[in-house]
Amino acid sequence: MTETSHDEAASFEADPFEQRWIVVSLILLIAFMVTVTIAGFALGFQVPGAESRVDPRTVADSPPWNEPGLRDLGGGEYAAYVISRQYLFDPRTITVPVGSSVTFYLTSIDVQHGFLLQNTNVNMQVVPGEVSRLTVDFDEAGEFDYICNEFCGAGHAAMFGSVIVEADEGGA
C-alpha cells in the first residue's frame, strides 16, 4: 500500500459505546463547571484574589499593620489585621461577639505561612509582599483555632491562634 491509500482509508472512528461514554463524560464535566460557577459567582463562595501588595521589610512599621488586631467597623462588621511570622500570629487571640462578620487581612514579614481557620471556609496562603483577604460570619459561639498550614520552618507546628466568639449576654 502507498501512503495515499492509507491516508484515504484513515478516519476518526469511535465505537458506539465509546461515543456514549464521551457524551456522558462531557455532560458530567459541564455539570461540575456549572456548579462551581453558580457557587462562586451567584452564591458568593469566593476564593482570595489580588488584594494589594506591600513591602515585607517595612510593612509592620506603618498603618494598619503597625497595630495588628481587630477594628470594629460598626453594624456587627469587623476587620482583623493579622501579621504572620516565624512562628506566631500577631494577635494570638481575637474576640468577637456572636453574629459578627469578620474580614481577615493577613500578610507575612518573613516566609510563607498559611491561615486555616478551623470549621470555617477560611483557608489562605500568606505570602510575603501580598495581602490575603477573606470574610467569615460567626453565627455560633465557641473557639475557632487558626493554624499555620504552610511549612515555615523548624517551629511551624507550634504556630496557631484562636478566635473566641462570645455568646450574646442579653440572650438572642
Binding site: 492509507h6 491516508d7 457557587a39 509582599g129 495581602v131 520552618g153 523548624a154
Partner: protein
C-alpha cells in the same frame, strides 16, 4: 500485526544503560520511603526521630524533604527516563540515533542528584520539595535540581533525534503508539519545566548566591505551579503508556482503540499546562478570574482521563472475555490476577479512580478552600503518584528487570504480596488522610508537637500510621525482590525469557487519522493555549515584580 510480531533484540549496552536508570530509581525509593512511615508514626504519637539523631537524620523536616525529593522527583524521573528509553528503542526497532547524547543526559542527572543530596543531608536544604521562596536552601540544592531537569531534557532530545531518523527510514508509516506516547510525555515535560527553570535561574539561584537581595514569593509560586501540575502528568503518563500499550497484551487481549489512545495523549499535552492556578486558589496576588478560568480548564484535563478509563477497561474486558470471563462484571474475575505484573496495574488503576474523584474536588474552585494544605492533599497524591504511578512502576519492574538482566523474577508470589499490601495499606492510609484533611489537620507539619490537635483526630491518626506501616512492608519487599532478581546467579534457561509487551490494536494503526500522528498542529495549539491562559497574568506579575523578600533559612 506482522511488524509487531518480529522481535527486536536490544543490545547488551543499551540494556545496561536502561538498567542504570532503574538502579538509581529503586535506590532512591528504598531510602526515601523509610521517611514516609516515620512521619506517619510521629503524627500518631510515636516519635522515632530520636533513633536517627546519631545519623544526623533526626529532623522531621529534613526527613520530609528527603521523602519528597527522592520519592516524588528522583524515583519517578529516573524510572521514567529509563523506561521511555527502552520504549523508544523497542518501539522503533532501532538503536538510539546518538547514544552518547542520551548518556550525557543520564550522567547530568546523576551529577545533579549528588549535588542536591549533599546540602539536603547536611541540613542546608530543609525546604521540602516545593522549596517556596523566601525559604532558603544552599545554592547546590537548586543547581542540583536544575541539572536533574536539564539531564532529563537532554535524554528527551536524544529521543526526538532518534524519531526523526526513524521517520526518514519509514515514510508513510504511523508511528507506534507507545513511541508517540513516550515522545508526547517528553515534549509536555520540556514545555512545562520552563516555569521552574525561570524560577530557579532568575530568582532562587541568584538569591542563594547573594547576587540579588531577595525574591518575589508570589511570582515564585506562579512559576512553580506552571511546572508543578504538568509534573504530575509527567509521572502519570508513563503509567498510562503501560496501561494502554502493554497491559492489554499482558492480560491476554488487545488495545481497544489506537485512535482514542492517541487522542487522549494529545489532550494531555494540550491541557496539562494551563491549569496551574488550581494549586493557587488560596493565594493572594492572583485575580479570581484567572483562578476560575484554570478551574474550568482543569475539568478539561479530566476528560482524557475519563477516555482512558473507558479504553483501558474495554481492553481489559475484551481480554477477560477471551479468557472465558462472563457476566456484566463477572469478567473481572477472569483477568490474570495471579500475574503480579497485571495485578499491580489493576490495583493501581482502582486506587487511581479514587484519586481522580479527589482530584476533581481539588480543582473545584472555592471547594478547594476546604482542603487546601490539609492532610487531604498528601492523601490525594499518594493515590496518584504513590499509587497510579508507583504501583504501576512496580508492575513494570517485575518484567522489566528480568527483561534487562536475563534473570527470572525472584519469587513472583511475593510480588503479589507487595501489590496487595500496597493496595490495602494505601486504602487505609489515604482514607485516613482525606478524613483528617476534612477535619482541618494541616499537611507538612510535625503534628506530634502541635498544641492544637483535638482528640477527635486520634483514631484517624492511628489508622494513618497503620496504613503507613503496611506500606513500609510492601516497599521493603519490593526493593528486596528487585535486588534479588537483578543480582541473583540464576539466568533464564534456553527458550525461557521475557518478551517486551506491546499490545496490538484492534484496528490497524495505519487507519488512525494522520492528524493524530503529527506534532506540529498540537504543539502550536499548546503554545497558543498556554499564552492565552498564562500570558496576561505572568506579564502582570513580572512587570510588577518586587524582589524584596530576603532569603530566610528554615
Amino acid at each position: 500485526m506482522l511488524t509487531q510480531q518480529s522481535v527486536y533484540e536490544v543490545s547488551k549496552k543499551d540494556r545496561r544503560f536502561v538498567g542504570a536508570h532503574l538502579l538509581v530509581a529503586i535506590g532512591a525509593l528504598s531510602v526515601g520511603s523509610l521517611f514516609g512511615p516515620l512521619q506517619a508514626f510521629e503524627w500518631s504519637g510515636l516519635d522515632l526521630y530520636g533513633l536517627l539523631e546519631p545519623l544526623g537524620l533526626g529532623d522531621y523536616y529534613k526527613g520530609l524533604t528527603i521523602h519528597g525529593v527522592l520519592n516524588a522527583l528522583v524515583w519517578t524521573t529516573f524510572f521514567i527516563t529509563g523506561f521511555l528509553t527502552l520504549v523508544m528503542i523497542v518501539g522503533l526497532k532501532r538503536p538510539l540515533r546518538y547514544p552518547t547524547l542520551n548518556r550525557v543526559g543520564f550522567y547530568t542527572m546523576v551529577v545533579g542528584l549528588v549535588m542536591a543530596a549533599i546540602p539536603i543531608l547536611a541540613g542546608a536544604a530543609s525546604v521540602l520539595y516545593t522549596f517556596y521562596p523566601p525559604l532558603a536552601a544552599s545554592w547546590a540544592f537548586y543547581l542540583g535540581l536544575t541539572l536533574v531537569v536539564v539531564g532529563s531534557w537532554i535524554e528527551g532530545y536524544g529521543f526526538y533525534l532518534t524519531m526523526a531518523e526513524w521517520r526518514r527510514e519509514n515514510p508513510g508509516t504511523r508511528s507506534p503508539f507507545i513511541v508517540l506516547a513516550a515522545l508526547i510525555t517528553m515534549v509536555m515535560w520540556q514545555f512545562a519545566a520552563l516555569g521552574i527553570a525561570v524560577e530557579i535561574l532568575t530568582m532562587l539561584l541568584p538569591a542563594a548566591l547573594g547576587i540579588i537581595d531577595g525574591t518575589d514569593p508570589e511570582l515564585g509560586r506562579t512559576l512553580f505551579w506552571f511546572t508543578g501540575h504538568p509534573l504530575v502528568y509527567f509521572w502519570l503518563l508513563p503509567a498510562y503508556i503501560s496501561w494502554y500499550g502493554m497491559l492489554p497484551k499482558q492480560a491476554g487481549g488487545k488495545l481497544f482503540s489506537d485512535t482514542l489512545a492517541r487522542l487522549a495523549f494529545w489532550l494531555f499535552l494540550l491541557l496539562s499546562i494551563p491549569v496551574g492556578f488550581h494549586h493557587q486558589f488560596a493565594d493572594p496576588g492572583v485575580p479570581v478570574g484567572w483562578k476560575y478560568i484554570h478551574s474550568i480548564l482543569t475539568y478539561g484535563v479530566a476528560f482524557p482521563s475519563l477516555l482512558t478509563l473507558f479504553t483501558v477497561v474495554a481492553s481489559l474486558e475484551y481480554a477477560a472475555r477471551k479468557r472465558g470471563g462472563r457476566g456484566l462484571l463477572g469478567w473481572i474475575r477472569a483477568l490474570p490476577w495471579g500475574n503480579p505484573v497485571v495485578s499491580a496495574q489493576l490495583l493501581a488503576g482502582i486506587l487511581f479512580m479514587f484519586g481522580g474523584i479527589g482530584g476533581i474536588t481539588n480543582a473545584s474552585y472555592s471547594v478547594n478552600l476546604v482542603i487546601h494544605n490539609t492532610a487531604w492533599v498528601p492523601g490525594h497524591f499518594h493515590l496518584t503518584v504513590a499509587s497510579a504511578t508507583t504501583l504501576s512502576f512496580f508492575g513494570i519492574s517485575y518484567w522489566l528487570i528480568p527483561y534487562l538482566t536475563g534473570k527470572p523474577l525472584w519469587k513472583p508470589k511475593w510480588a503479589s504480596v507487595v501489590n496487595w499490601s500496597w493496595f490495602v495499606g494505601m486504602m487505609i492510609f489515604s482514607n485516613a488522610m482525606h478524613v483528617l484533611g476534612l477535619l482541618g489537620a494541616p499537611r507538612r507539619t510535625e503534628l506530634g508537637k502541635a498544641p492544637y490537635v483535638p482528640d477527635e483526630w486520634s483514631g484517624h491518626l492511628f489508622r494513618m500510621s497503620l496504613g503507613g506501616a503496611i506500606l513500609l512492608v510492601g516497599v521493603t519487599l519490593f526493593v528486596v525482590i528487585a535486588a534479588r532478581t537483578a543480582f541473583q546467579k540464576r539466568r533464564f534457561a534456553a527458550g525461557e525469557g521475557v518478551e517486551f509487551p506491546i499490545a496490538v490494536s484492534m484496528r490497524d494503526p495505519q487507519l488512525t487519522p494522520l492528524w493524530l500522528d503529527r506534532f506540529r498542529p498540537w504543539l502550536i495549539a499548546t503554545a497558543v493555549l498556554v499564552v492565552v491562559a498564562y500570558g496576561p497574568q505572568l506579564l502582570d506579575q513580572f512587570s510588577n515584580a518586587s524582589f524584596n523578600s530576603p532569603p530566610i533559612s528554615p
